[in-house]
């Protein structure tokens, strides 16, 4: 699925210029600082704002070109706004069904109300009114409502920004679940790298009103622009089970063990082979020339050095590594790099000290 965009917006000091084709699969994050034009772009895609001379095409359907403009309600997009956007005169149930009841005949219904209610755990809320719900619950309802309108594209405009940390962690797993179950491509606007790395498969980096780069999230994380706020890497690992409360993961042929999340150990045997997302801070990786047998770090993976990038601090370097064809980066001091005489192409061991699991 592809979204082809051609758009120029000028408003006072603000300007947005985009001429890109975005392949959409899974969750694509539209990431950048506040004021870089993310929301403007999202609203243009939705058709909420109409900019002169813009061209927007979704797959083979032209949404805007010249005088041709498909209005919002005919684009079949789902949208979740930043703040609560539930219709205040309707109950949760009526809100959920607002779009579902307006489906045009002939559209294949892939998300049934019962499924969505189940998926988002909305059953206890159905009879309530929006003002009775917490921020996190409201966003969950808004998400369910958007899904039930059977969108071909789901647009999320900072859906977590107005939530506190707890509501955020309540809603994140639901977003992941939806991405996995529905197969609907999502475009997620965010200025929080934390949220993005937990959710997104691809990342579009926006800067000063234009698209700086786009690509898979693991690749994009290597960009120095993103490293500025704490370099990290994302690895996909396969799980083959739990032994001694440890998740048995492997990346390619290399094994990795991590304390299993408690809810998994409690339901022993209830796991199935899964793919996990591992987030590793660059500063939590140390490199050694040989495998260490006298170290407490037990996760040591063989990697090869592919390059060196400047780090925000002048005394440090970001070492780019290849682990079974997945990118990884380690933050070392320049002194260590010189002492070990690290070079591109060299094979070394990465000691992984801390991992966050998603």
């Amino acid at each position: 699925m592809t979204l082809a965009l051609q758009l120029t917006v000028k408003r006072g000091a603000f300007s947005l210029q985009v001429e890109h084709s975005l392949p959409l699969q899974g969750i694509t994050a539209l990431f950048g600082r506040s004021g870089c034009g993310k929301t403007t772009l999202l609203r243009a895609i939705a058709g909420l704002d109409r900019h002169a001379d813009a061209q927007i095409r979704f797959n083979d359907t032209v949404w805007q070109q010249g005088k041709h403009f498909v209005p919002v309600h005919q684009r079949r997009i789902g949208m979740v706004f930043q703040e609560s956007s539930l219709l205040p005169h309707l109950s949760v149930e009526q809100n959920l069904l607002y779009g579902y009841r307006r489906l045009v005949k002939g559209i294949t219904v892939s998300m049934l109300p019962e499924q969505v209610i189940e998926l988002l755990a909305l059953k206890p809320l159905l009879k309530q009114h929006p003002e009775q719900l917490s921020g996190g619950q409201r966003q969950r309802v808004a998400l369910g409502r958007a899904l039930l309108s059977q969108p071909q594209l789901l647009l999320l405009d900072e859906p977590l920004a107005s939530l506190d940390q707890q509501s955020r962690s309540e809603i994140l797993p639901f977003l992941q679940r939806i991405a996995n179950h529905s197969g609907i491509p999502m475009l997620l606007v965010s200025h929080q790298l934390d949220d993005v790395v937990k959710l997104a498969d691809n990342l579009v980096l926006m800067q000063h009103g234009s698209i700086h780069s786009q690509g898979s999230l693991p690749q994009q994380l290597l960009k120095p622009e993103l490293a500025a706020s704490g370099a990290m890497s994302l690895l996909y690992a396969q799980c083959s089970g739990i032994k001694h409360h440890l998740l048995q993961l492997h990346i390619g042929q290399q094994p990795l063990q991590l304390p299993a999340p408690l809810f998994l150990t409690a339901a022993a045997g209830a796991y199935s082979p899964l793919t996990y997302r591992l987030r590793i801070q660059a500063r939590d990786i140390a490199l050694s020339l040989t495998k260490l047998n006298d170290s407490s770090v037990s996760n040591q993976l063989q990697v090869s050095i592919t390059g060196f990038n400047p780090a925000p601090h002048p005394a440090e370097t970001l070492v780019q590594l290849n682990l079974e064809d997945q990118p990884l980066q380690a933050l070392l001091t320049k002194q260590s790099v010189e002492r070990l005489r690290l070079q591109v192409g060299q094979s070394v061991y990465a000691q992984i000290k801390a991992v966050a699991l998603d």
């Binding site: 209005p71 919002v72 779009g99 309108s149």
Partner: protein
């Protein structure tokens, strides 16, 4: 004790008819106008808003005078109608109805405009992303969310038409059953020194005006509370 003559009853009936017709027409005309005013970025907007508010500051006699010229047998509208073989509109019910609609316009438009602004654009954007077209949005979102604004607009318009005097006297005169509404009849009674008759009708108007306003402000408070939730 109430001792209303047939003429008094006729005036009461005529007044209610004028109020109801005016309110109905103004809700139909005022809603799109208020909507346009709340949405438009056009430079015309300020001018239109000033024109809508004119009846608030102009003496009713001025309004009535120009309408008389316009709708009378020699006016642009009245004259054209006569050429088409139709009666002109001065000194007729249709004439004072047109006068009332213009005179009460701000009392319909202002509360509606206020409630449209309070609603903001978000609920409509939400409805649109969920597949609702413009007309669908009007009935499923605007009307229920701005219910308070509509009720206030309707009652204020009704009450304001009830108290109309200058425009009707200028444009309609005092023809029983045609243009002689309560306020005009009270004036006639007073002129003729029929103080008892004038008193009865005046007190009746005073009380009904108070009741209507009391209801409006009560509703206003309730809807404000709802809006806060």
């Amino acid at each position: 004790m109430l001792q209303l003559s047939a003429q008094d009853w006729q005036a009461i009936q005529l007044t209610l008819k004028l109020c109801l017709y005016t309110t109905a027409i103004l809700l139909l005309l005022g809603t799109p106008l208020a909507w346009w005013l709340s949405q438009s970025q056009s430079k015309l907007r300020t001018a239109i808003q000033a024109i809508v508010a004119l009846p608030l500051v102009l003496p009713p006699t001025v309004l009535g005078f120009y309408l008389l010229l316009l709708l009378g047998p020699h006016g642009a509208v009245g004259g054209t109608l006569q050429q088409l073989g139709l009666p002109h509109l001065a000194f007729s019910f249709s004439g004072i109805l047109i006068g009332s609609v213009i005179y009460s316009l701000p009392f319909t438009v202002q509360p509606l405009l206020e409630s449209f602004r309070r609603m903001g654009p978000r609920p409509l954007e939400v409805a649109a992303t969920l597949g609702a077209g413009k007309l669908d949005q009007l009935f499923s979102v605007v009307l229920p969310l701005c219910r308070g604004g509509f009720i206030v607009a309707a009652t204020l318009t009704f009450a304001h038409t009830l108290g109309e005097f200058g425009v009707i006297l200028m444009l309609g005169g005092s023809i029983p059953g045609e243009t002689q509404v309560l306020s005009v009849l009270i004036y006639d009674h007073t002129e003729a020194m029929n103080y008892t008759q004038a008193h009865q009708l005046s007190l009746g108007l005073l009380i009904s005006a108070f009741v209507v306003l009391f209801i409006v402000y009560g509703l206003n408070r309730r809807f404000e509370r709802e809006a806060v939730l």
